[in-house]
């Protein structure tokens, strides 16, 4: 009994943390290029509705993921058009993207409300899944959980081992220097922004296709914002993104377990539901307290528009 509770909590924590990892790693790449895209919430919403719709029509959840990714990429291209080509304020444009995405997804998603999808079966990795306690939680998982691990490895390799990652970091630190030695700052930022949007889209599709699986207006419920906070919390380091995401996943599911456990505790359910948001605030405070940490780790040109003087 103890084992199954532990295992199922671990299982649920990984699942709850997965969209956060995917979205936050995407945003991490975007921010490393110096672009602050606050539109993750709206982009996830679009990814969720597109993923749900595509899965509903095709019956294939992976086409749903692909659709969510495409929707997310398109959203971030819109953001790129505004901030990179038209040099609009990144904060305002990100908010606009969120408002637009949340609204448009609600509009598009109206016909899909009250529909459900078939649950996607987990993928079991032989042998590993037999490890007691953790095996069934870690290695009998949704495919996108494995994907998030691969993504983490890929992002770490890209940022710290590849030349393209070096260029990306250089652009994020000093776009004018990067321009003067001949790199296309705008082009690189477009790529990074699009990748971030695509990941947000996948994160959204994971929610509607794998996690719930259904579509309701507002179902992203702040996960996009939490992912943004995670990037700060992780001080722009990928491994810490994963740790933070599972921490939040744990907070999110612990309230479900407490509510479902029948434990007689005098706590209103709303307070439990507020825990992830309160945790986000606390974590932000803890990490931001030391300004040096933030200054040393955040990409130096973050949020500043750049236009080469032609």
């Amino acid at each position: 009994m103890e084992q199954s509770l532990f295992t199922s909590m671990l299982f649920a924590t990984l699942v709850a943390g997965t969209p956060l990892i995917i979205v936050a790693l995407g945003e991490l790449i975007t921010e490393k290029s110096g672009v602050l895209n606050l539109g993750a919430e709206g982009t996830m919403a679009m990814g969720a509705v597109a993923g749900f719709a595509a899965t509903h029509y095709t019956g294939n959840p992976y086409l749903g993921v692909l659709a969510g990714m495409t929707a997310g990429a398109l959203m971030s291209l819109l953001f790129g058009l505004l901030t990179l080509t038209l040099m609009a304020n990144q904060v305002a444009s990100g908010l606009a993207l969120t408002i637009f995405g949340v609204g448009l997804s609600a509009f598009i998603g109206k016909p899909f409300e009250s529909l459900t999808l078939q649950a996607v079966p987990a993928i079991r990795i032989p042998l590993l899944a037999d490890i007691p306690y953790i095996g069934p939680a870690l290695f009998n998982q949704q495919s996108l959980v494995y994907f998030s691990w691969a993504l983490l490895g890929g992002v770490i390799w890209f940022l710290y081992k590849s030349r393209a990652g070096l260029i990306l970091r250089a652009v994020g630190e000093s776009p004018s220097s990067a321009h003067s030695i001949g790199y296309s700052v705008i082009g690189i930022r477009y790529l990074a922004t699009t990748f971030g949007g695509a990941m947000s889209g996948i994160g959204g599709a994971f929610l509607s296709v794998f996690y719930t699986p259904l579509w309701v207006e507002g179902m992203v419920s702040g996960r996009g914002w939490i992912a943004l906070a995670l990037v700060v919390f992780a001080t722009w380091r990928p491994l810490r993104v994963m740790a933070g995401a599972y921490l939040f996943g744990g907070v999110m599911i612990s309230q479900l377990f407490i509510q479902g456990s029948g434990l007689q505790i005098e706590v209103p359910s709303q307070l439990l539901s507020a825990l992830p948001y309160l945790a986000t605030i606390i974590v932000l405070v803890l990490i931001s307290r030391n300004q040096q940490t933030i200054r040393l780790n955040s990409p130096m040109s973050l949020g500043q528009p750049y236009r080469p003087d032609a």
Binding site: L81, N89, L95, L97, F107, W225, P268, Q270, Q291
Partner: protein, 360 residues
């Protein structure tokens, strides 16, 4: 060959900064026509239903003004902060707290009658909003925590808080278990301005706040300091304007105004507190503030426009069986177009002829 080239203007164009919102409105309407045809609706009918129907009658106009009241109130408060680059994104939560605090005052003073009830509710609403805004202000000035994320997280918390109140301690015992408080007594309701409409005293209050906001932003030293802080933080530090005070003032201004708007909502058209009290005013007001150029006069007109989009969405739902969320699509479009056309405040297009170069 003709080509266009973007070049920086030596000075920001004042004309363009006023023209840009108008361009955005026109583009939004054109976008609306496209959207309606894409949905297989008659675009002209859609336009008529969405943009004209709400203003068909005097009653319609009064509803428009009523809808605009919370938007203009919140937007003025936000604009004060936005000018100083204080990004209070949590007006929705501050609105809810204002509504809750005002409801608390109304329930507390249930047996009292007279204007002091409303007065107490106004003070409570303002304080409620201010208290909610004070959290991100404190965490930002004391711990450097990003006010965007904190104020936004607090929106979700506020929504859960109001839900707890109306499902729990404040639930109307005679309300058939609906998540709502008791209906307010007459003393706790804002008096109507025009008989037969729902337009109430809050409209006058909002106009007053607009005027105060205008004087503050354009005439006062503190308003000047906040503008400097927003446009050149190093210059503000050089001049000796305290950045912390700017954050506090910017956040609190937004909180007070949003709290007042929340109070006006429960003491006005709703007459009670429900868990659906907010309905997106706090976020829409962000758009209003930008479209209104962070200027109270502009905000007045932008709030009317945004109210029209809200009502148009309801009309579209009624008459064209489109989801009401279409109004949010319009809101988003409006802000996109505005941000895009703002490019021409600082840049202009130069048309030039270039010789076609062979093999260049």
């Amino acid at each position: 060959m003709l080509s266009f080239k973007l070049e920086a203007r030596p000075e920001a164009s004042r004309t363009m900064s006023y023209l840009s919102p108008l361009i955005a409105v026109v583009l939004t309407m054109l976008g609306g026509l496209l959207l309606f045809s894409a949905l297989g609706k008659d675009p002209l009918e859609g336009f008529q239903v969405f943009f004209l129907n709400p203003m068909r009658s005097w009653y319609g106009v009064s509803e428009l003004l009523l809808k605009a009241v919370p938007l203009m109130l919140i937007a003025v408060g936000l604009a004060i902060g936005f000018r100083a680059n204080v990004w209070n994104i949590g007006a929705e939560g501050q609105f809810i707290l204002g509504a809750c605090a005002a409801t608390g005052a109304a329930l507390l003073l249930e047996d009292v009658s007279g204007p002091q009830v409303l007065l107490a509710m106004i003070v409570a609403g303002a304080l409620g909003g201010a208290a909610w805004a004070a959290i991100p202000a404190f965490l930002r000035t004391r711990f450097n925590a990003n006010e965007i994320l904190v104020s936004l997280m607090l929106v979700y918390v506020a929504q859960l808080l109001v839900s707890w109140l109306v499902f729990g301690p404040w639930m109307d015992p005679d309300g058939f278990n609906f998540p709502q408080s008791k209906m307010f007594s007459d003393s706790a309701l804002l008096p109507m301005l025009v008989e037969g409409t729902r337009l109430n005293l809050a409209f006058v209050m909002a106009l007053g706040v607009l005027v105060v906001g205008y004087v503050f932003m354009h005439r006062s030293y503190l308003g000047f300091k906040m503008r400097v802080a927003g446009e050149a933080a190093d210059a503000a530090r050089y001049a000796g304007f305290s950045a912390k005070r700017m954050v506090w003032f910017g956040m609190l201004a937004g909180g007070v105004c949003a709290g007042l708007a929340g109070m006006a909502e429960v003491a006005g058209p709703m007459g009670q507190l429900t868990d659906k009290v907010a309905s997106g005013y706090g976020f829409a007001a962000i758009i209003v503030a930008f479209v209104g150029r962070l200027n109270p006069i502009g905000i007045f007109f932008a709030s009317l426009l945004m109210a029209l989009l809200f009502l148009g969405g309801e009309q579209a739902q009624l008459y064209m069986s489109l989801p009401a969320s279409i109004s949010k699509v319009f809101q988003g479009m409006l802000l996109f177009f505005l941000l895009g056309s703002d490019l021409f405040i600082n840049y202009r297009l130069r048309m030039r002829r270039t010789l076609a170069k062979a093999g260049a």
